[in-house]
């Protein structure tokens, strides 16, 4: 059986869920009550079959008001997550306000963790990918990722480390049947603007 299919514009990956997926699923089930989001970077490749280890899962979200963040923070704590940077919402919000990431893991664990990355409208590439989500589904776990072409170019042009180039190669090969050249052209300009 093929590794994936594209049905009604949803990417369906034909595999069982892993503990890593369940960790992300639990985090997103809480986050979605408070904010929209996009899962980006390494987990996009891993969730589509790239066989490598990872320590963190990157999730971007639009910067939010303190009161909303406090509710999210308390809900995460209630559901057995802890934040590397602090135990109270007030001090943790100072990171969000300054567009710095927070990290959340399960109680009594360090890895895997969620790198929770705030962005605002000055971050053009993040805003673009956030506004053009691709839905992906593994069993009953549905979540949002960037367009695959965008993710490939971001890894090749911006991140460009060995791991990133390998992730991009995985995505280019695995999804070769559905990638669109016109999308690569469209997204390249957006991504290169990040370098300026």
């Amino acid at each position: 059986m093929k590794g994936y299919e594209l049905k009604d514009n949803v990417l369906i990956i034909k595999r069982e869920l892993t503990s890593l997926d369940l960790f992300v699923k639990d985090f997103l089930s809480i986050l979605k009550k408070y904010s929209d989001y996009l899962v980006v970077s390494g987990y996009v490749s891993i969730s589509t079959g790239r066989t490598r280890g990872t320590e963190d899962v990157d999730i971007i979200f639009p910067i939010m008001e303190k009161s909303l963040f406090s509710s999210l923070f308390e809900d995460l704590k209630k559901n057995n997550f802890w934040c590397y940077q602090g135990d109270n919402a007030e001090e943790s919000y100072s990171y969000v306000k300054n567009l710095q990431s927070l990290r959340f893991a399960r109680i009594n664990e360090i890895f895997p963790n969620i790198e929770f990355i705030p962005f605002n409208k000055t971050k053009k590439a993040k805003l673009f990918e956030f506004s053009h989500p691709q839905i992906i589904k593994i069993k009953d776990f549905e979540f949002k990722i960037p367009p695959i072409e965008f993710e490939i170019l971001y890894k090749e042009i911006i991140l460009a480390g060995k791991k990133d180039i390998e992730d991009a190669k995985h995505l280019r090969t695995f999804f070769s049947d559905i990638l669109k050249q016109e999308k690569f052209k469209e997204y390249e300009g957006v991504i290169r603007s990040e370098l300026k």
């Binding site: 059986m1 093929k2 590794g3 994936y4 034909k14 595999r15 069982e16 892993t18 503990s19 890593l20 891993i46 079959g49 790239r50 066989t51 490598r52 280890g53 320590e55 802890w82 590397y84 940077q85 135990d87 990290r103 109680i107 009594n108 664990e109 360090i110 890895f111 895997p112 060995k162 180039i165 390998e166 190669k169 995985h170 995505l171 090969t173 695995f174 070769s176 049947d177």
Partner: protein
């Protein structure tokens, strides 16, 4: 003629091509992920204990420059 040695990138491409045709290969990936998570969990629980896990973890994370 000498056989071409596969680079890491060649291997990634080969594996992705096979995975596209045959989803049974996902089982190997699941095994690797589960093994990594189990090993990491065991390592840090042993290192920090459960009583002061957060405090010890933060000391460690500060030490390696993660926070």
């Amino acid at each position: 003629m000498a056989k071409k040695i596969m680079t890491d990138l060649d291997y990634v491409e080969f594996y992705a091509r096979e995975l596209k045709k045959n989803n049974k290969l996902f089982k190997q990936q699941k095994r690797l992920i589960e093994a990594q998570i189990t090993a990491s969990s065991s390592l840090f629980k042993n290192a920090f204990g459960e009583k002061d896990f957060k405090a010890e973890a933060r000391k460690y994370l500060k030490g390696i420059g993660s926070i």
